[in-house]
Each structure stands twice: as structure tokens, then as C-alpha cells.
Amino acid sequence: MRKIIAFVLLALLTQIAYSQMPDKFVKAMESKVAMLDSIQTAEGWIDMANAFERIANAEKTQWLPYYYAAFSNVMAGYMMGSGNAMGGDPEKTDPLADKAEKLLNAAEAMEKDNSEIFVVKKMIASLRMMADPMNRYMTYGPVAATALARAKALSPDNPRVYILEAQDKFYTPEQFGGSKTEAKELFLKAYKEFEIFKPASPIHPDWGRSQVNYFLTQF
């Protein structure tokens, strides 16, 4: 009978131990990170943001879930605009920008000088600015530009830097400094960077491939 009890206890302990393996974190992250490039709606991004935030809050010492939660909130904000971050509704998008900023600050506290964090910083500033361009351009324009310059300086090979640059060129009419040709070049640059880009792990930032592919079909 002792054998049996020992066996049962062992089975139980294994079960418990399994649930505490860091593997759990990696697995949970992997499944979500893999979905990032396929989300199409604001609701989808909010759902994703909440999922990453749960992981962030449970782990507390991992910067990646905070980073993804911030990123997902910004994306939800972009979706609430007309989808291209041009003009929006500050009432709806400001709380998301606030939340993203808070989460990103938590990520940055653990992960200093990471290009990916500055990419999201730029996105937050742009989200704020485009919600009310007339009122916010002088404030958030420089904040966005500084963040992007920093992201580029920290990692000139980061394909996401070029996606952001390309999108800005893409959505601005030619007579106002936009350029489809330049946008295409930048998307191609991002595409090339993706070919050589290796994320530090399967759960490190690697999003943006589908965006690049989509835009490259628009020319």
C-alpha cells in the first residue's frame, strides 16, 4: 500500500512541478506571439493585450509580456482610428495610449536600451498625436521622432523601424512630402531586414512580416 501512496504522490508532484516549469511561460507566450500577425480587429488586439497583461502580472519579472501588452494596446488604438492611424478619437484612444505607456514603462524598467521598446514608444506617441494632430503635433511629433531615431540607433537592423518609416511615407500625399516610391523602398528594406533578422528567441519580437507583405502588394 505504501508503494501505491508513494506512486500517487509522485504522480501528483509531477503534475504540480510541470505547472511550475518555466516552459509554461514560454509555451503560453509562443502560442500568443504566433497569433500576432493575424489579428485584424481592435477587439482582437484588446483580447491579446489582456492575455499578455495576465502573463505579465503573474510573472512580474519578464519584460516581454509587458512589451507585448503595450504593443497590443497601441494596435487596438490604431484599429480604432480609420485603421491607418490618420485622425481618430482621443476619447477612445487616449486611455489605450495611457495604458500602453504604463505597461511599456514596466518593460523598460527591466530591459533598458532595447530598440523594440523605442519602436513601441514611437507608436504610442504617434497614436496620441494622430488622435488630434492640430493640437498635439508640436508636442508629440518630436517625441515620436526622437523615439524612432533612438530605436534606429540602438539597432539599425530592426525591420520594424523601417515599417514605421514606410507607413508614414505611404499615408502622406506626394505634394505633402509623402512618396509611394520611397515607401516601397522602405518596405523592401524592411523585407530584406526580415530575411536576415533572427529574434533572440521564439518569443522575442518578430512581428511585422505580414504587414510588409500586405503593403508590398499595394504598389
Partner: protein, 751 residues
């Protein structure tokens, strides 16, 4: 091992396995009593498990966790929810009721009489950029506020004339303390601009009556400005325009806890006046220097210390054809030096206790001179008109201090109390044509104590009850002024409010010293308001009645008028209407204001109660703004209208020894259409190093005839229209902000 034993082991094992891997499904609906709430994050605390509610508020998720856990739900705008749950295999249904977070955004606010625009409020009535992009505002705070109901379209002098009140009845406060020389020194019949840029302020409260007991010495209106906090990042700025140059720098510390900055502006109207002919003939074109400096320090998470100062100088001189003696010219010269300092500190001093305190100091000197010149522009003294040659040297020192202590109670109820001290010292020296000199000094120490409480009976009913005590050492008088307002939230976006208050103000200094003992002038306000406010539109209607007592009457002592009694009186009644809509027309923000005003007063030298010359019966504005983000351009237009105002020539009649109307009339209606463009060339250029705004603005585009009133010759025999210095004015400017971030250099050094 027997077969039965084996069976037992397998059974127990599989039972445990089953139990261990068995899932609990948690589902339910999140509501606010009535409706489902979408996008709520539901989670099991300290686990990865959870869900987001759908558009109807439903949620469902499974977990393999066992035992007791905390289920949390959170959503923006709602109080966080927590509940202990015991997880067992099967389905657990938990419906969640979220309570709306009672914040200043959602609760009723006492608004009768006020227009508020600040970062705390959901609905900004007029933010800094609103001011700059109001076409009729010319980038000036008070000019832009004239597009709101309650203020008159007065162009011949500066200041806000509110609901039948004079400009002197509106007081302006920065970070709590009184500002003594808010405007540049004015010239006869020309309105001067404010000294302060709209970008210095993050919040604006424009009260057209019934304002809080924290403020006093203003019979009609209080304009309460709150300065900005730390900048987002270090930046430099540069401005070039047809009227001058400006540049500045703001440095944010690395730890983002403090910042400092300096700015300098040079204004020279030579170019503008050469291109746009002025009615006045300037022998000294206005030249202004203005420098400012600031620092801001976060003293803790909740506290901030702010310092701001300006130093300005102003010089001008012009001639106009004299009405008093034909072929001669009146000349006017002005020199001004002004220095202003403001230091304020806000801090949470203990749990639920806050302190707001500030001091300000102003030193102002105006040197004014008038004279007559003949056809060859040579100074002359004409017999009988000697008084036209004079010099007036005014030196003022003003010190203001204020302290407000705030105690919060449960919910939003608040008690505030504190004191205020205003010191003023006005020296004058009048030099007559024959070099005889007449010095003057008016010194005042005004102390005030006040207390006020905001009581929230429920989230929907609030009362603001306050009182203010003042003592003037100059008049040796005290007063007690009660203030009361109530607000009731009638719906999610609508509320009704009423306000009552008594307001006292010292007689204006320019009529002092008086020939008899004086007391405070007094106004009593009664206001009722209804408003509907959502994020897309604002609808506001207000009716008011204002009673004036103890206004000063003046008597002539030969050349100047001075106060002789408090026997003046008056009243004003009317209603205001305001509609702002940001939604109906795509990307268009427009507002309409209308004010009806019926007012009469007997004050100064008026023979009896009349409609004063600064009050039009009907005033209306239409402001339209459209930003086309694809073109990176904002288009702004404004139309302002006011019915004609009365004008009078009041002369002293020796025979009856009284003042009498020698002439009177009414000006034609006033209208102005202005237009402005703002072009942001680098809006979407993420690699931009500089952020430029190009501005073009044209006032009175259609060249309407605008008559502000009439001026009379000394003997009242001749009169002349008072009109703007030029029919239209065109402003072209370029303002650049450079983001400055030293971290790039730091990275390069490390690499």
C-alpha cells in the same frame, strides 16, 4: 500484486490524473446593472488564465488551476472588481457587476457661470491650440475668449467686458495669484495684446459670473489660468513672422523630475506697418522686447514647484489729426518696462490634505506723454489747450500671495480654506505743460480669508458653499461675500445648475484719491444654467441677473475726474447660448455663441442710468475649424457680430453745475470675418528634426466698416469715428519646434 490491487491503483491514479487535468470553466456576464460591458479583462490573479468580455459582456475561459483564487475584472472607467473563487472541476458561473468609477470626469460639476478647459476635464472648451486656431483670436487669450458668450466685441481697448461689466471688473489669475498687468500698456483707442502666450497654460477657466470664493476683487468675471507642468521632452523653438522674431529653449532633466527654460521675443512692427497702412502716423513704430524664464521641479510624486517670470519693454509714438484744433496733430508716446515673477507650489501634505500656494510680484513703469504738433510736426502749446501737453510717469509695485488648503472627504466632497494678500503701490507723477508737477501715491494692503466646500450629496447632486472676507487698508473697510451654487445631474450628459454670489471690488485706482470716503463697489449675481455635454457636442444655455450697488460717481476738479461717492448703481440681465459640435460635419469643429444683454448703469459722470458704451444688446460668433490631415493643414474661420453700441458726449454744465448729455448716438452694427491657415509640413515625417507650423491669418477679410464708438473734441463740437488702426491685418509666421534629445549623443559615445 493482485489483480484487484492493480485495478485499484489504476483507478486511483486515473482519478488523480483526471482531477489534476480536469478543467474548470468560468463564465458569466459583466454588466453595469443594465448593459453588458465589452472589453473587460477578467483574470485569475497570479495565473495566465482569463478572458476578455465580448460586445454583450459575456466571457468564458477554462483553467486547470485548483483551489482558492481571486477572480479580478478591470476595465477603463470602472472600479476594479475582485472575488474569491473556489475552483472545482465543472462550470462556475460568475456574473460581474462593475461600478462606474466616480471621478471628476463622471460626476456632476458646479458649472453655472463658468467655461472650463483643462486637462482634468473631459470636455475642453478652449485649450491652448483652440485659442491659437480661433481665426478671430490672433493668438491672444482674451481675444479668443471673445468668441464665447458673455464677452463683448470691444476693439477700442483691451480686456474682457463681461455681461455689462467694464474690463476692470474682470480679474486674471495665474496659478492662483492675481496678475496686475496682464496686458501690454494700451494706447488711446487701440486694444493691446496680452503679455502671455496661450502655450504657457494647460487650463483655462473663464467665469462670466458666480465664481468661487477663492477669488475676489472682480465684480463681473474671473479668468483663471493654470500654467503647464514639465515639458514632454527637451526642445528648442524658433519663430519668424512679419512682426518679429522669437526663440527659446526648454531643458528637461534626465530623470524627468525638473526642467528649466528661457525664451526671448522681439517684436518690430516696421515691416507690417509699411505694408499695411495704419490710421495713426507712427514716428516711433512699436518695438517690444520680451524675455521669460521658468523652472519647474517635481517636489514629489504629487507635488510641483513652478516659477515663471517675464521681462518686457515696449516703446511707441504716433500722431493723429487733432480734433481740437484743425491742422494740428495730437501726439502720443509710450514707454513701458514690466517685470513679473510667479512662484507656486502644489503638494499633497498628508493623506487627503493638499496645499496650493503661490506668490507673485510685478514691477511696472509706464511713461506716457501727450502733446500737440503743428503742420510741420513741431511741438507747440496752443492757448486754451495747454492741458494737451503733459507727461505721466506711473510706477507700480504689486505683490500678491495666496494659500489654499484642501481637505478631501469620502467621495468627491472637499473643503478648501485659506487666505490671500494683495499689496499695491502706485506712484504717479503728472507733469503739466508748464513743468508744474503733481505727484500721487495710492497704497493698498488688501487681506482676504476664504472658505468653501464642495458637497456631493450623491453623484448627481452637488453644492458649492463658500464665503470670503476682505479688508482694505486703503478704504478702512471690510466686507463679507457669500457664494453659493448648486448643480444637479439630470441625465448622463445633462445637468442643471444655479449660482448666487456677492462680489466686491475696490474703486478703480485711476479715479483715486477720492474727494470723499469711499467703500467697495458691489455686485450680486443670480445665474441659472442648463447644459448638455458629451465628447462630441456641448449645448449650454444660461440666464443671469446682476445687480450693481455702490458704483463710484465722479466729479471734475478742473482737469481730472476723481471719485466723489459710491452713489452709482446698475443692473444687467440677459441670456447666453453656446453650441459646439465636433461630430456632425466630418473633421469639422464649430461653435456658435450668442448673448443677449440688457444693461443700464449710473456711474462715473453719467447724468442718470444709461446703457453704457461698452455694452451691445446682441453679440454672436461663429467659429469653424477643419483639419485636413492628408493636406496637413488646418483651416479656420470666424465671424463675429454685435449690434451697435451707444456713444455719448457728457459735458459739465456750469449753469446747473451738473453733467449733461451734449450729444449721443449709436454706432452701426459691428461685424468681422477672419480666416487663418495652419500648415504642418512635417506631420507624418518621422525622421523630421524640426516641427514647423506655418501660419497665415487675415482679419476682417471683407473689409467691413467697423466703428467702435466716437471720440469728441474737448469742446464737444466735433466728433470722429473710433475705428481699428487698419481695416484688415495680415499675419504670416513660421514657428519651429526642435526636439532635442541628448540620449543620441550618449548612445554614440557608448558604442
Amino acid at each position: 500484486m493482485k489483480y484487484s490491487q492493480k485495478i485499484l491503483i489504476i483507478t486511483i491514479l486515473s482519478a488523480f490524473q483526471y482531477l489534476a487535468s480536469a478543467q474548470t470553466t468560468i463564465k458569466g456576464r459583466v454588466t453595469d446593472k443594465k448593459n453588458g460591458i465589452a472589453g473587460v479583462s477578467i483574470s485569475l490573479k497570479d495565473t495566465y488564465d482569463g478572458a476578455t468580455s465580448d460586445s454583450a459582456g459575456h466571457y468564458s475561459f477554462t483553467t486547470t488551476e485548483k483551489g482558492e483564487f481571486v477572480l479580478t475584472a478591470s476595465a477603463i472607467g470602472y472600479k476594479p472588481f475582485e472575488q474569491m473563487v473556489k475552483l472545482e472541476p465543472g462550470t462556475l458561473t460568475i456574473d460581474i457587476l462593475l461600478k462606474e468609477e466616480i471621478t471628476e470626469l463622471t460626476a456632476v460639476t458646479v458649472t453655472a457661470g463658468t467655461f472650463e478647459a483643462s486637462d482634468k476635464k473631459k470636455v475642453t472648451v478652449l485649450g491652448p491650440i483652440d485659442i491659437v486656431t480661433t481665426a478671430s483670436g490672433n493668438g491672444d487669450i482674451t481675444e479668443a475668449l471673445k468668441s464665447l458668450p458673455g464677452a463683448q466685441q470691444i476693439g477700442e481697448s483691451e480686456g474682457l467686458f463681461v455681461r455689462g461689466g467694464t474690463a476692470g471688473e474682470t480679474k486674471i489669475f495665474i496659478d492662483g495669484t492675481l496678475v496686475n498687468n496682464f496686458f501690454y500698456t494700451g494706447s488711446p483707442n487701440i486694444a493691446s495684446r496680452g503679455r502671455f502666450s496661450p502655450f504657457l497654460f494647460k487650463g483655462t477657466v473663464f467665469s462670466t459670473g458666480g465664481y468661487s470664493a477663492l477669488y475676489g476683487q472682480a465684480l463681473s468675471s474671473a479668468l483663471i489660468l493654470e500654467s503647464i507642468d514639465l515639458p514632454e521632452q527637451s526642445s528648442a523653438n524658433l519663430g519668424v513672422s512679419v512682426i518679429g522674431l522669437s526663440g527659446g529653449f526648454q531643458q528637461l532633466a534626465k530623470n524627468k523630475k525638473s526642467s528649466w527654460g528661457i525664451d526671448y521675443g522681439y517684436t518690430d512692427l516696421s515691416l507690417a506697418f509699411a505694408l499695411i497702412k495704419q490710421r495713426q502716423d507712427y514716428f516711433k513704430v512699436p518695438i517690444l522686447h520680451n524675455a521669460d524664464a521658468n523652472f519647474r521641479i517635481k517636489t514629489s510624486k504629487t507635488g510641483i514647484l513652478k516659477y515663471y517670470s517675464t521681462f518686457g519693454s515696449q516703446k511707441l509714438g504716433f500722431r493723429t489729426n487733432s480734433l481740437d484744433t484743425l491742422t494740428y496733430k495730437d501726439i502720443f508716446r509710450l514707454k513701458n518696462i514690466n517685470m513679473y515673477h510667479n512662484l507656486s507650489w502644489k503638494e499633497k501634505i498628508a493623506n487627503k490634505w493638499r496645499l496650493e500656494t503661490g506668490v507673485s510680484y510685478t514691477n511696472n513703469r509706464d511713461q506716457l506723454a501727450g502733446g500737440l504738433q503743428d503742420a510741420d510736426n513741431t511741438n507747440t502749446v496752443v492757448s486754451g489747450l495747454e492741458f494737451k501737453n503733459y507727461a505721466l510717469d506711473l510706477k507700480g509695485h504689486y505683490f500678491n500671495a495666496k494659500m489654499v488648503v484642501e481637505k478631501r472627504f469620502t467621495g468627491l466632497s472637499v473643503l478648501r480654506f485659506g487666505g490671500e494678500y494683495n499689496f499695491s503701490d502706485d506712484h504717479s507723477m503728472y507733469t503739466a505743460y508748464d513743468n508744474s508737477r503733481y505727484p500721487g501715491l495710492i497704497r493698498e494692503n488688501l487681506g482676504a480669508a476664504f472658505a468653501e466646500t464642495d458637497i456631493y450629496l450623491t453623484n448627481a447632486i452637488a453644492a458649492k458653499i463658500g464665503g470670503r472676507y476682505e479688508h482694505s487698508s486703503l478704504f478702512q473697510k471690510s466686507n463679507i461675500a457669500p457664494r453659493l451654487s448648486l448643480a444637479y445631474k439630470t441625465g448622463k450628459t445633462s445637468q442643471a445648475s444655479v449660482a448666487y454670489g456677492i462680489f466686491y471690488q475696490n474703486p478703480e485706482r485711476r479715479y483715486l484719491p477720492a474727494t470723499a470716503p469711499l467703500t467697495f463697489m458691489k455686485a450680486t449675481h443670480y445665474i441659472a444654467q442648463y447644459q448638455l455635454v458629451s465628447k462630441d457636442y456641448t449645448l449650454r444655455g444660461e440666464i443671469f441677473y446682476k445687480r450693481y450697488n455702490d458704483l463710484i460717481k465722479t466729479a471734475s476738479n478742473g482737469t481730472a475726474e476723481s471719485a466723489s461717492s459710491n452713489n452709482g448703481f446698475g443692473d444687467a440681465r440677459g441670456f447666453d447660448f453656446f453650441w459646439r459640435d465636433k461630430k456632425t460635419l466630418k473633421n469639422v469643429d464649430y461653435w456658435i455663441s450668442y448673448s443677449y444683454l440688457d444693461t443700464k448703469r449710473d456711474y462715473l459722470n453719467f447724468p442718470y442710468a444709461i446703457q453704457p458704451s461698452f455694452a451691445a444688446k446682441h453679440t454672436a460668433s461663429l467659429i469653424i475649424k477643419k483639419f485636413v490631415s492628408q493636406w496637413k493643414t488646418g483651416f479656420n474661420a470666424a465671424y463675429n457680430f454685435a449690434t451697435g453700441r451707444p456713444y455719448y458726449y457728457i459735458g459739465y454744465d456750469g449753469a446747473t453745475s451738473s453733467y449733461q448729455f451734449k450729444d449721443r448716438g449709436k454706432t452701426p452694427a459691428y461685424q468681422n470675418f477672419s480666416f487663418s491657415l495652419n500648415y504642418l509640413p512635417n506631420l507624418n515625417n518621422t525622421n523630421a528634426k524640426k516641427f514647423t507650423v506655418l501660419v497665415l491669418s487675415v482679419s476682417n477679410v471683407f473689409g467691413f466698416d467697423q466703428t467702435y464708438g466716437y471720440q469728441y473734441s474737448f469742446d464737444g463740437m466735433r466728433k470722429q469715428r473710433i475705428v481699428p488702426p487698419s481695416k484688415t491685418f495680415v499675419f504670416i509666421g513660421m514657428f519651429i519646434s526642435f526636439g532635442v534629445d541628448r540620449s543620441d549623443d550618449v548612445i554614440n559615445m557608448n558604442l
